[in-house]
């Protein structure tokens, strides 16, 4: 179980969000750019310190401003797939994948190498260097790397943003397969309704740092239908 309640002032933007998740599944953070989505996942990962709030994951307090608890990212066990992949350029794909796997605490490592490699189709890429991968392949490796650290929560920050339409579809296919197999909650950041409809089962709508509403997929679909078409693509 994940429960999040956070507040952070970032220049003119005040990010304030409160949401939760029971069990596995994909929660989408949906909103236009500049609505604080990335700041929010950075706070969950421990890369950005909130001004106030509390984050609890599976009974572990990751952050609590009142109790002065703020676990560093390396102790949170929150996997993060960044928009730009951020693969280590000096390591092979194999080295990248193994980086976090070695560091998962003994007895808590649930991710299996073979399963992850198979699910994401990484077999043929293992010996390659990140510089020799296509955008889609990079993102698949980044997902595999995050998973093999056996996280308890997986954050995906617009992992398809830098890909062309064809690659997007390819990675989206892998993502769908993957999320159906996962027993941990996933947070998927996007401003593309199409991706969310394919992957998520619950949607947190954000605008200017505030939560406008939390819907299940059905509610989100109805909302999209009621919007004028141009609004979908402007965001």
């Amino acid at each position: 179980m994940l429960s999040v309640s956070l507040k952070k002032r970032l220049g003119d933007l005040e990010v304030e969000a409160c949401f939760g998740r029971q069990g596995p599944g994909v929660t989408a953070l949906f909103g236009p750019s500049g609505s604080g989505k990335t700041s929010l996942v950075n706070m969950l990962a421990g890369l950005l310190t909130p001004d106030q709030g509390r984050v609890v994951l599976e009974g572990r307090v990751l952050f609590d401003s009142r109790a002065k608890i703020n676990l560093p990212p390396e102790r949170r066990r929150v996997g993060y797939v960044f928009q730009e992949g951020r693969l280590f350029p000096h390591l092979s794909v194999k080295g990248n994948l193994a980086y976090g796997q070695r560091l998962a605490p003994k007895g808590q490592a649930w991710a299996s190498w073979n399963q992850v490699v198979e699910l994401l189709g990484l077999e043929g890429l293992l010996e390659r260097r990140p510089a020799k991968l296509s955008g889609g392949e990079k993102q698949r490796v980044a997902m595999g790397r995050a998973l093999l650290a056996s996280p308890r929560l997986l954050l995906l920050d617009e992992p398809l943003a830098s890909l062309d339409a064809q690659r997007k579809d390819e990675v989206l296919g892998y993502l769908g397969r993957l999320t159906r197999h996962l027993a941990i909650p996933v947070i998927y950041v996007s401003h593309q309704p199409g991706e969310i409809l394919r992957l998520a089962d619950s949607v947190v709508r954000l605008e200017r740092g505030r939560v406008l509403g939390i819907d299940d997929l059905e509610g989100f679909r109805r909302l999209l239908d009621s919007w004028p078409k141009e609004r979908l693509w402007l965001s």
């Binding site: 990962a45 421990g46 890369l47 560093p72 990212p73 390396e74 102790r75 949170r76 066990r77 929150v78 996997g79 993060y80 960044f82 730009e84 951020r86 280590f88 350029p89 000096h90 980086y99 976090g100 560091l103 998962a104 390659r128 260097r129 990140p130 510089a131 020799k132 790397r145 995050a146 650290a149």
Partner: protein, 236 residues
């Protein structure tokens, strides 16, 4: 035939100076490396009071006359110097008038160059990669040694080569601090200076010049090859 062979054979004086130069520069380079990485890291990544002053002090050997640096080394690290006396009494290490002193002088003179090269390379490291490593469960030290350091390697290598080359050329601070003692502190530049002081030393001076130039060229060549290999590794 014998005369041609003789032209390519180093005299005892030359080979002694050459060996000493390499030895002194090597130790100057290796000894200052950890400190230079530390200083570069502090300057690239940390904010602390007195940072500008620290930066300035570190660059001092680059801008003050080498004689000043040599004299200050003598005051601080000489047998009766504050640090020198303590090192001699407690650890049995003496810098005065031996090759260790020459290495220390070279290290101090080359330090700013080394720090600069490493710092530039460190500043170019994508912090996002370090963040990614943190989210994968790596603590600060592990991130430093598995991500930051490998990505800084080109700068570290070029800093090492710069420091080594600077050590080969070091004259002023060395001669002031540890004098010009054959076999102890008489490196190539000091040997060259000595033969020039004696009448009829031109021929010997020319040979020493050629040796110095050849050495410098080899150092540059090696560094270029190393840099290419590292770049190729990083780029995949």
């Amino acid at each position: 035939m014998d005369s041609i062979l003789a032209a390519f054979t180093l005299t005892p004086l030359e080979s002694e100076a050459l060996r000493l130069s390499l030895w002194v520069s090597l130790w100057a380079m290796l000894g200052s490396l950890p400190l230079a990485v530390g200083a570069a890291w502090l300057l690239a990544r940390r904010r602390f009071p007195g940072k500008t002053l620290f930066d300035g002090l570190m660059h001092l050997p680059l801008v003050v006359p080498p004689v000043v640096t040599g004299y200050l080394l003598l005051v601080v690290f000489g047998r009766r110097g504050m640090v020198g006396a303590w090192l001699h009494d407690h650890l049995g290490i003496t810098f005065a008038f031996n090759w260790k002193g020459a290495a220390l002088a070279s290290a101090v003179m080359a330090f700013p160059l080394m720090v600069r090269a490493i710092r530039l390379s460190l500043e170019a490291v994508d912090r996002g990669l370090e963040q990614a490593a943190h989210t994968l469960g790596a603590g600060p030290w592990r991130v430093f040694f598995t991500v930051t350091m490998p990505l800084t390697l080109p700068g570290i290598l070029s800093g090492m080569v710069l420091a080594f080359a600077r050590g080969l050329g070091e004259f002023g601070a060395t001669v002031t601090f540890v004098s010009n003692i054959p076999g102890q502190t008489r490196t190539l530049p000091l040997a060259l200076y000595s033969v020039l002081q004696s009448p009829g030393g031109e021929a010997a001076a020319q040979r020493l010049c050629i040796i110095s130039i050849a050495l410098a060229l080899i150092a540059l060549l090696v560094s270029e090859l190393l840099a290419r290999r590292v770049q190729a590794r990083l780029k995949g």
